[in-house]
Symmetry: C2
Subunit: 404 residues, 2 copies
């Protein structure tokens, strides 16, 4: 007997049959004696279709009006889900973001949750013994205007609600049945993790294992919300995300991730004087281009090279910005390589196990794969490789760590 927040993504509520499936999951939980608050995304491609409609009318529509438009998507899926639950004979009430008490700042289309006032939800749970269905992805700002949290915001809505309600568990239902040691679509022998830490999850999410939205994991970590990632289709237990996770026996890492959205830029022949790196990265930062791995060569003949990676989608813009400032920065030329991939291992176990990085490099050496750049953190090692070697690299590393 507890309070459980369940979040269902767009694929899970895409049509009548799937909504009924979601209604079954919710009512099964309710029947076990739990209070249930479900947070839903818009159905399937609804949000994309609404965006297309808006772009057709006004490609520069104000973000306020976009949020007004987009927030209808979850209102539709939530009321339909409440109806499906009622059809099964259980009490249900759907609430919009503002009815559910989501107060946000005023950044239309990318709002941050400031507070969740839970009085209404609590009353529906306690007084009406109702199942509560809440629109994800949206809230209300101080002007009483609808705001949306940006893509993936429904995960954040669910975690924020779980935190505010002091829920016992926040289950994120999605179309995969948990977090795997590697992408099971490409890697043989990939297995589902029973548990993983918040920090590992954060590294994996930012490394391209797009199961949970990073904002939601950060928030869960901050407010110590117990998360579980599981499939709305399989009915199997998923992966628990916690402050401290049970270590799986004998494994030093939790997973291997691959990120293709990466490109390498190299400023060749930069003058070896102080402040150049600072100038380069502040120019890019001003345009919101994040730099990931950085490698600065030792100076030679008073010249050095600076290489770094950015998102592949930012590469052309980064090139343009730096070329514009060639004179000031004083480099010889820029190399851009978009045919690279970042492969990473993540694991809290690294902290206690020396030689994890070496083991990874060994796996790549055995597979005859060349490493361009290396970056490490406390619980992560990333390497930049030619894109063509990506899958083979993940498989080789995974075999090395997980094959007994």
């Amino acid at each position: 007997m507890g309070l459980i927040v369940q979040k269902f993504g767009g694929t899970s509520v895409a049509n009548k049959e799937r909504l009924e499936n979601v209604a079954r999951i919710i009512t099964d939980t309710y029947r076990q004696g739990h209070q249930v608050v479900a947070v839903l995304s818009a159905q399937g491609k609804t949000t994309d279709e609404l965006i297309a409609k808006a772009m057709d009318i006004n490609p520069k529509a104000s973000k306020r009006e976009m949020d007004m438009l987009l927030s209808t998507g979850e209102q539709i899926s939530c009321s339909l889900c409440a109806m499906a639950i009622q059809a099964m004979g259980y009490p249900a009430v759907s609430l919009t973001g503002w009815q559910a008490g989501f107060q946000t700042n005023s950044s239309y289309s990318n709002a941050k949750i400031k507070k969740v006032r839970t009085e209404r939800i609590q009353a529906e749970l306690d007084r009406n013994h109702s199942i509560v269905i809440v629109t994800g992805f949206q809230g209300l700002n101080k002007f009483d205007d609808n705001t949306t949290l940006g893509r993936g915001g429904s995960d954040t809505s669910a975690v924020a609600l779980a935190a505010a309600l002091k829920a016992d568990l926040c289950q994120i239902y999605t179309d995969v049945d948990g977090i795997y040691t590697a992408d099971p679509r490409y890697v043989e022998g990939a297995r589902k993790l029973e548990e993983i830490t918040f920090d590992e999850m954060l590294e994996l999410a930012s490394l391209g294992a797009q199961v949970l939205h990073n904002r939601s994991v950060e928030m869960a970590k901050k407010y110590r919300v117990n998360l579980e990632v599981l499939s709305s289709f399989s009915g199997k237990p998923g992966t628990k995300v916690k402050e401290v996770a049970k270590q799986m026996e004998k494994t030093q890492i939790s997973g291997v991730a691959k990120d293709k959205n990466v490109a390498r830029l190299a400023l060749v022949g930069v003058e070896d004087k102080p402040g150049i790196a600072y100038q380069v990265f502040s120019l890019l930062g001003k345009e919101n281009i994040n730099v990931d791995i950085i490698l600065q060569s030792y100076g030679r003949d008073e010249r050095q090279d600076i290489s770094f990676t950015v998102k592949r989608s930012d590469a052309d813009q980064a090139l343009a910005i730096l070329s514009e400032h060639q004179a000031t920065l004083g480099f010889d030329h820029i190399d851009v390589n978009k045919e690279v991939v970042k492969v990473s291992i993540v694991g809290a176990g690294m902290l206690e196990n020396a030689g994890v990085a070496a083991k990874m490099f060994g796996a790549l050496y055995d597979a005859d794969i060349n490493i361009h750049m290396i970056s490490t953190s406390e619980i992560k090692v990333s390497v930049l490789l030619d894109e063509i070697n990506g899958n083979a690299a993940v498989q080789a590393i995974h075999d090395k760590f997980f094959e007994d």
Copy 2:
């Protein structure tokens, strides 16, 4: 320079091109120096499609959830319209029913407006000089839940808003370009009225000339809101609906209307004792069946006949109810005739012109059309005819009154 409320129905906002047309009408008015508040219905068949989606999931969905679902329709059309206006370079902001201050009672799916708190709209108009686009058909009840006003409610929203804002004019844009002396699709020589009184409009609306929703006309009459009915497509002046209208020269009536949604029931051989009529009509009233024209024959052999009309869609239910009580009511049998039609003339001019009814009957006599029942009020005469004679009757009466 004034404040104008403009209402656009579902057909007027059905697609991108029509929304842009509506945006042009709104911005033309704004450019003339007026403050403009536009009230919009949902696009085309949106509401019907949402209802079908709900029925598919739960044919007995709670009305609260239906209202939650349906209120998204206007939110979509309004935000898209605001975007279209922004694309033309004018400031626009869309507001939901609750943001616009519509407070209703709690009758989900058929709510009544209790009050419109106009502070937000007034601020958008005065401080931001913005065009304000408001969702019709919806409001918020005391539980902070969305409610809808029922079909045709957008007209009522517009008139209520015009009353609350003390607007100079409330323009109802629709797909016809005004109120005609008869339905121009069927009647030769039908002409558009320049002006008409609220009372005439009420009689015409209830008689089947479905241009304006009756609730909205009643409210306009009560709060003395100047109405104008006009087409969003033609660009021509429409018909003004006012407390006192200029009488068109030489015409004694404003229009001829035909209503096919009618059936006649006759209780034959009813015992001639007191209270029978009361019993009959209270039985029907309990089931929300409205009786229109009533004709009670003089008693003969201690038996009499009671005939009356109901909506054709209510006829079978009325028959069933009365048959069930045959013993108590003590009648011989019931005749039901669904092949009838009600034709009416309406005009404030009748009050001052004797012989208007006689002129109507004369027109029917000349056309060799038999009258089954007659009903009169101060500004209306209705006759019940065989349905097959309906169009000929309207044409004959219209010719008599309007042909010079």
